[in-house]
């Protein structure tokens, strides 16, 4: 078996996605035995020439990070965007609002970017979520080892929620975004009575206007971050 080189990199992020990977500890140890996976979690020293698969979490917030990302791209066969920040820009997009105040408090911040990584480089696969689902990560990981790209999950959080036989939060007057959000999280938030806040991004052909209409009919205040989600998805295309 050839030595498979895996790189795991972190740009601007909370590093929660990497914690999710570490949470796979039992399986990871097993894999290390079988595949001699060389991994560079967080560390940037002793870089090899190339990676078979590179996972990148976090969004690009500076020119340095942009350079770093482009370098990783050149060195990697497959590049996977890991988590909400890398896939869509993440919570750092909050920066887009109230810029004036931020500039006052943090001088120099006008040089910041906050962008999903596919604005700079080609991405082979996206693993969305804040944080990522460790099982989804593992499934994708195994497929990539076989040089196979799994189908990007295209169902909605709603469809996974109903499989848990949950009651609809919208019916209770709560602004849940499950109907327009890409599934794969097994509807973990609505199952615990927390509304879906759309961390996995919009589902394919999501009907945002339809949901806003539904909210209006039910007198539900749409969440402010919905604008953020639609705006960042607008950027992508």
């Amino acid at each position: 078996m050839n030595k498979i080189r895996i790189g795991i990199f972190s740009l601007s992020s909370c590093e929660g996605c990497i914690v999710q990977i570490l949470n796979l500890e039992d399986i990871l140890l097993n894999l290390l035995k079988k595949f001699e996976i060389e991994s560079r979690i967080l560390g940037t020293q002793n870089r090899t020439e190339s990676y078979d698969i590179a996972f990148v979490e976090g969004s690009v917030m500076s020119i340095d990070e942009e350079m770093e990302l482009k370098k990783i791209r050149r060195m990697s066969k497959f590049l996977v965007a890991l988590g909400e920040c890398a896939c869509h820009g993440g919570n750092f997009l909050v920066r887009d609002f109230n810029v004036g105040e931020i500039l006052e408090r943090f001088p120099g911040s006008e040089t910041w970017y906050s962008n999903p990584i596919d604005r700079y480089v080609r991405i082979e696969y996206y693993i969305p979520g804040c944080p990522i689902d460790k099982e989804e990560f593992f499934t994708v990981f195994k497929s990539l080892l076989l040089e196979k790209f799994p189908e990007q999950i295209s169902n909605t959080v709603c469809s996974e929620c109903i499989l848990k036989e949950n009651n609809c939060l919208i019916d209770k007057g709560i602004a849940c975004l499950g109907s327009i959000t890409r599934g794969g999280c097994k509807a973990i938030c609505p199952t615990f009575n927390r509304e879906c806040y759309g961390c996995r991004g919009l589902s394919d052909d999501a009907n945002v206007e339809g949901l806003l209409q539904t909210f209006k009919e039910k007198n539900i205040e749409p969440p402010t971050h919905l604008t953020l989600i639609t705006r960042r998805e607008g950027r992508k295309t």
């Binding site: 295209s154 169902n155 709603c158 469809s159 019916d171 109907s179 339809g210």
Partner: protein
């Protein structure tokens, strides 16, 4: 009834409606007093999930040391053990008959068929309809003639039991000490209750859906579909709660050793963009109206050609769970009465 269920549990795995904090769901039960036979209308998910599970392991594969591929079919697991599902309402019994036509018809599905043969269906007639029930209009209830092994009817102080099959008869034969012979009045009482339920549902004053297929074909290009698809959130909940929706996708998952793995089949929804995606990446139903239409046309038009009957049993689940509150009855009514017909042209 608890005594009967208790005895069933000695020989069978029991599935029944169980009251949870979220509503009533069909579940495997270990204590028979958990079974709630007084539930109104329908459960959240239909009993379909016990015959055609949301995620089903079909088989495991493995390359052995010599490089030969070996397959372990989970059908062997499926065929172990007998089950009894109690408290299945007439609409859901009818839905199993619809699924039978699909999975045991021209192409026999061994997983479904094995589960069906392994499972006795103990039906339960309704004493009251729920808000969205419309079984009467699609001919699936409230009275039912076939599809059950036993059929229970709550007559207040006792249950009237109708035997529907040889297997059902065996279930009663060995427990005759807890059954009394039914009187003619009991049967009449059941008829009276069912008639009452039927009248209650008839009050909705819906048109007859028997010839809806022809009208639907005429209105294939109607504006209705654009209007509704602007409202539809395409979340797929209607498909997943539908007792007759049976579309699935196939997914393979390798094990960490990459030499073995499993094949799954997973429920799929015609509302998802990926539903019609083929290997080349082409998507056939790109626009939302075409996907919104698909569910309704499949149920009321295509299904007639496929299995000889419509695929709607009038349980009303899709109406109840829709976050945008789209009512399939409103859609059909609008198709029949409203809207300007635009003749369809197929090139």
């Amino acid at each position: 009834m608890p005594i009967f269920l208790d005895r069933i549990m000695k020989y069978y795995q029991l599935i029944g409606p169980v009251k949870t904090e979220k509503g009533v769901s069909f579940e495997y039960v270990s204590e028979c007093d958990k079974v709630d036979l007084d539930y109104l209308g329908h459960t959240v998910l239909p009993p379909k999930k016990f015959f055609f599970p949301p995620i089903e392991e079909m088989f495991a594969y493995e390359y052995d040391e010599t490089g030969n591929l070996r397959i372990y079919d989970f059908l062997e697991e499926v065929s172990k053990g007998m089950r009894v599902i109690v408290g299945v309402k007439p609409c859901d019994i009818s839905s199993l008959l619809v699924l039978d036509k699909v999975f045991t018809g021209e192409y026999n599905d061994p997983y479904y068929t094995t589960r069906r043969n392994n499972t006795l269906v103990v039906g339960l007639t309704c004493n009251k309809p729920k808000e969205y029930c419309f079984c009467t209009y699609v001919g699936s209830g409230p009275s039912i003639k076939k599809g059950f092994d036993l059929l229970l009817s709550d007559l207040g102080d006792m249950y009237l039991v109708e035997v529907g099959s040889e297997k059902g008869w065996k279930l009663t034969k060995f427990n005759l000490d807890i059954f009394n012979e039914a009187e003619n009045e009991d049967i009449k009482e059941r008829e009276r209750i069912l008639l009452e339920v039927e009248e209650e549902i008839r009050k909705k004053g819906l048109p007859n859906f028997a010839t809806i297929d022809k009208v639907l074909v005429e209105r294939f290009l109607d504006r209705i579909w654009d209007d509704y698809s602007r409202k539809c959130l395409a979340c797929g909940k209607c498909n997943f709660t539908c007792p007759t929706c049976r579309c699935f996708t196939i997914s393979d998952e390798p094990n960490p050793d990459l030499k073995s793995g499993k094949r799954f089949r997973i429920w799929d929804s015609c509302h998802f963009l990926s539903f019609t995606k083929v290997a080349s990446g082409e998507v056939f139903r790109k626009d939302r109206p075409s996907r919104f239409k698909q569910r309704i046309y499949h149920k009321f038009v295509y299904s007639i050609n496929e299995i000889g009957s419509i695929s709607c049993v009038g349980c009303g689940r899709c109406i109840e769970v829709c976050p945008a509150k789209i009512n399939i009855l409103d859609v059909l009514k609008e198709v029949i009465v409203g809207g300007k017909s635009v003749s369809a042209k197929v090139s």
